[in-house]
């Protein structure tokens, strides 16, 4: 029954999505209150039915209903409950169902909040309805999670053990909340073009912020998961799938800043619309890259050209339609108030130019190999050196300019005054550079520069908070200060790990030791251990420093018999300023094992910084939801 309920619910959701599309757009064009009311209830109904379909699949997975093909292929009776639940989105079909569930949640939120007035809401709901209908069709025709299996197998095939991890439980929903959340900005932008309403940026802001926060956390979680689960000690590999999430983040960040100007003074009106379209388009392209199987990655569940083709058509329709609407309607938009060269608008403009250029370099590095393969058959890969040359300098240039934005007033700012206020931060940056140069090895200009820029960012944020105070009414200023300081914290983590990482690899027998970065690691042998659905070889490694035992660590190798697969379970000892990272390798002759160790200085700051950025996003969101109507144009108002 469960499968049929899910299937039926999905079909009903499709019908409601179509009703939503027609009544939403129709209600906006005609201004008919009745149609608008239908759109709102359809949005609520669609959420209920997609929720029901998702619930049905989750239930089937929990009770191990192997009569459903998807569950039989991806679950196992012995799998712990949390992975039975998270395994629902650990495969292609289930993850697409999660995709539309998140879309339905955002749609209902738009219907419920009615931001920007009845007509704008109605048109935005109509656009969401079209997207939902397209994606539900995609699921029903190419990726149906409710297909039956006959005869019913006695046991399921299990879930890829790499994905049986807490990181998998939270990373995809978080990332989807970001990816799919950008659909709300997209829908509001399209709605603004349809209805010619001006105030879309303010209406879409909470959704933009929510999506950005979720995307920030989702990317950080993915990077953290790769760090501790894959056992290579790295945090970012410039893998095309990682890039697929970074591109929407860069453009969404640009959108957050540009929309701020659009909302305040009407500047960059068309550009903000274009960014909203671009951000969601990049989310769709990311979905295509990940789901079509054109890339080799842990995210490629299966290769299926039909799915890739369907998503390509979908992207073509959504992006092409939105751009055509933009080309048709944007010229009639009026520009906003004028501004001086030294003003917050100029700062935001530079922010957008640099972010767009950075996104473009990632785009080329990700898609150039695919295009070359398709056109000439030559297979190449573009790795970290490419991004070090292209992305890094553009982003560092952007970071140097960041502190000026919040110090400049709208329309006409005072650059000398801003410089005077920021002088202490400049001092801190120079001291940081000098300290790094004097006391650390190896001496590199890049390392020195990275710490100086990080200190500059954090210092400027501290000045910002001190000037404006920490009162409840300053949440807006606090938001930008936190987000910008978070960038600095992440930069410190990246620079520290990249510059000073130590790595050691040795084959050790019981009682033997190896040395790494001042630590002595004594290998005390390997014992067997049992988990709920795996057997493990569990090593005991005693960590000594200056003759004292400071820790006992247990890196593991796990064998999952159901899936016939092994995983490496790293052991990490963190002091926030440094990670000691152990991974157990293969067994060699007579109880001797390969042990790989890394010391990654400052590594935790990479993800801590992302958390600080997200906190900044939360402050902005809280500020937005608390203040019903902010002043329209306030000179020298705090940045959000």
């Amino acid at each position: 029954m469960t499968g049929e309920i899910g299937q039926l619910a999905l079909c009903l959701a499709l019908a409601l999505a179509l009703v939503l599309a027609i009544s939403g757009i129709g209600g906006a064009r005609l201004g008919a209150a009745g149609a608008q009311a239908i759109a709102s209830s359809s949005a609520a109904g669609m959420l209920v039915f997609i929720g029901l379909a998702f619930g049905a699949l989750t239930y089937a997975s929990i009770v191990s209903d192997f009569s459903i093909l998807n569950v039989a292929q991806n679950s196992h009776t012995l799998k712990p409950l949390i992975y039975k639940i998270s395994g629902v989105w650990g495969n292609h079909e289930g993850s697409m169902l999660l995709w539309v569930l998140v879309l339905a949640l955002y749609t209902a939120a738009i219907a419920f909040s009615r931001r920007g007035g009845a007509r704008l809401t109605s048109a935005a709901l109509g656009v969401m309805g079209m997207l939902a209908a397209a994606f539900i069709l995609f699921i029903l025709f190419t990726s149906n999670p409710f297909l039956r299996l006959d005869p019913v197998p006695f046991e399921g095939a299990g879930l890829n053990p790499l994905l049986q991890d807490f990181g998998l439980a939270v990373h995809p929903p978080m990332l989807y909340a970001g990816y799919v959340g950008l659909s709300a900005s997209f829908a509001y932008a399209a709605a603004a073009l349809i209805t010619q309403e001006r105030d879309w940026a303010r209406a879409a802001r909470p959704f933009m912020l929510t999506a950005w926060i979720a995307l920030t956390l989702g990317i950080a979680l993915g990077s953290w998961w790769a760090y501790y689960e894959l056992g290579w000690g790295g945090f970012w590999f410039w893998d095309p799938v990682e890039n697929a999430s970074l591109m929407p983040w860069l453009v969404a960040t640009a959108l957050l800043h540009s929309a701020l100007a659009t909302e305040r003074t009407g500047a960059f009106r068309s550009w903000s619309l274009l960014l909203a379209i671009a951000a969601f388009s990049l989310s769709l392209i990311g979905t295509f890259l990940v789901r079509s199987g054109v890339l080799s990655s842990v995210h490629s569940f299966a290769n299926d050209p039909e799915r890739g083709f369907f998503i390509l058509v979908l992207i073509g329709g959504a992006v092409g339609g939105a751009l055509a609407l933009f080309a048709w309607r944007a010229p009639s938009l009026d520009g906003g108030a004028s501004f001086e060269p030294a003003s917050r608008e100029t700062a935001l403009l530079l922010n957008n130019v640099f972010l767009a250029a950075a996104a473009a370099t990632v785009f080329v590095g990700t898609l150039y190999p695919l295009a070359l393969d398709a056109l000439t058959g030559t297979k190449i890969s573009v790795g970290p050196p490419y991004f070090a040359i292209t992305f890094a300098p553009i982003f560092i240039a952007l970071l140097i300019l960041v502190p000026f934005g919040p110090r400049l007033a709208w329309r006409k700012g005072d650059l000398p005054a801003a410089l005077r206020t920021l002088a202490p931060a400049l001092g801190i940056a120079l001291v940081a550079a000098a300290v790094i140069l004097a006391f650390t090895a190896p001496r590199t200009l890049a390392g020195c520069g990275a710490f100086a820029v990080a200190a500059w960012l954090i210092g400027a944020s501290a000045i910002e908070v001190r000037e404006r105070g920490l009162g409840a009414f300053q949440a807006g200023a606090l938001a930008s200060a936190l987000a910008h300081a978070g960038l600095g914290v992440t930069l410190i983590g990246i620079a520290g790990t990249t510059l000073w990482r130590s790595e050691a690899l040795e084959v050790l027998g019981p009682g033997e030791s190896m040395n790494i970065a001042g630590y002595t690691l004594r290998f005390d042998g390997v014992k067997g251990a049992h988990g709920p659905n795996y057997d493990a070889a569990r090593a005991t490694v005693t960590v000594l420093s200056g003759g004292w035992t400071i820790a006992v660590m247990h890196p593991e190798k796990r064998v999952f018999p159901a899936e016939g697969q092994d995983t490496v379970e790293t052991a990490i000892r963190t002091t926030i300023v440094s990670d000691l990272y152990l991974a157990l390798g293969d067994q060699r002759e007579q109880g001797r094992w390969i042990l790989r160790a890394y010391v990654n200085p400052l590594a935790p700051l990479i993800w801590l910084g992302a958390l600080v950025m997200a906190l900044g996003g939360f402050a902005a969101l809280w500020n937005r939801l608390r203040v019903a109507r902010p002043a329209s144009v306030a000179v020298a108002a705090p940045a959000e």
């Binding site: 960059f268 080799s296 370099t361 690899l505």
Partner: protein, 146 residues
């Protein structure tokens, strides 16, 4: 010229400068920093020079894996037509198996052995790197439904 026009021109100019800068960086970086992918047959027919980094992919030849001293390991990558010996110092990925797909990163040494700096296997037993599938198809050793 109105303020609006001036602003539009400034905006367009900034975008053009930034995209020209980004394009220059991209072209410069793409010239020297891409890695080519070759199947074992490609390596033999194209006479890849020693010391040039590239990626090689295929199946780990059965009975070819030998562990040397310490963390050294030797094996052969095959596409069914040709096989290239590979040497690697490090931890092999958990899913590295004889007869299974593998992609290695490195360069040929003077003896014609591929000295790998990184060895990647697939992440999942049902999944095969697309490059490997393609290499097997070209050598005629790919069976549908494999």
């Amino acid at each position: 010229m109105t303020a609006k026009q001036r602003r539009r021109i400034a905006f367009a100019a900034a975008l053009i400068v930034a995209s020209a800068g980004a394009a220059a960086l991209v072209l410069f970086a793409l010239k020297d920093n891409v890695l080519y992918f070759y199947s074992p047959s490609d390596v033999q027919t194209k006479h890849v020079a020693p010391g040039i980094a590239f990626r090689i992919g295929g199946l780990v030849e059965t009975h070819s894996v030998h562990h040397g001293a310490g963390a050294d390991v030797n094996f052969k990558v095959t596409d069914g037509k040709s096989a290239i010996p590979v040497t690697y110092h490090g931890v092999l990925p958990a899913l590295f198996r004889e007869g299974q797909g593998v992609v290695a990163l490195g360069a040929l040494n003077d003896a014609g052995t591929f000295s790998a700096t990184e060895v990647l296997a697939k992440h999942d037993e049902r999944y095969m790197p697309p490059e490997v599938v393609d290499a097997l198809k070209r050598s005629g050793r790919w069976k549908e439904g494999q």
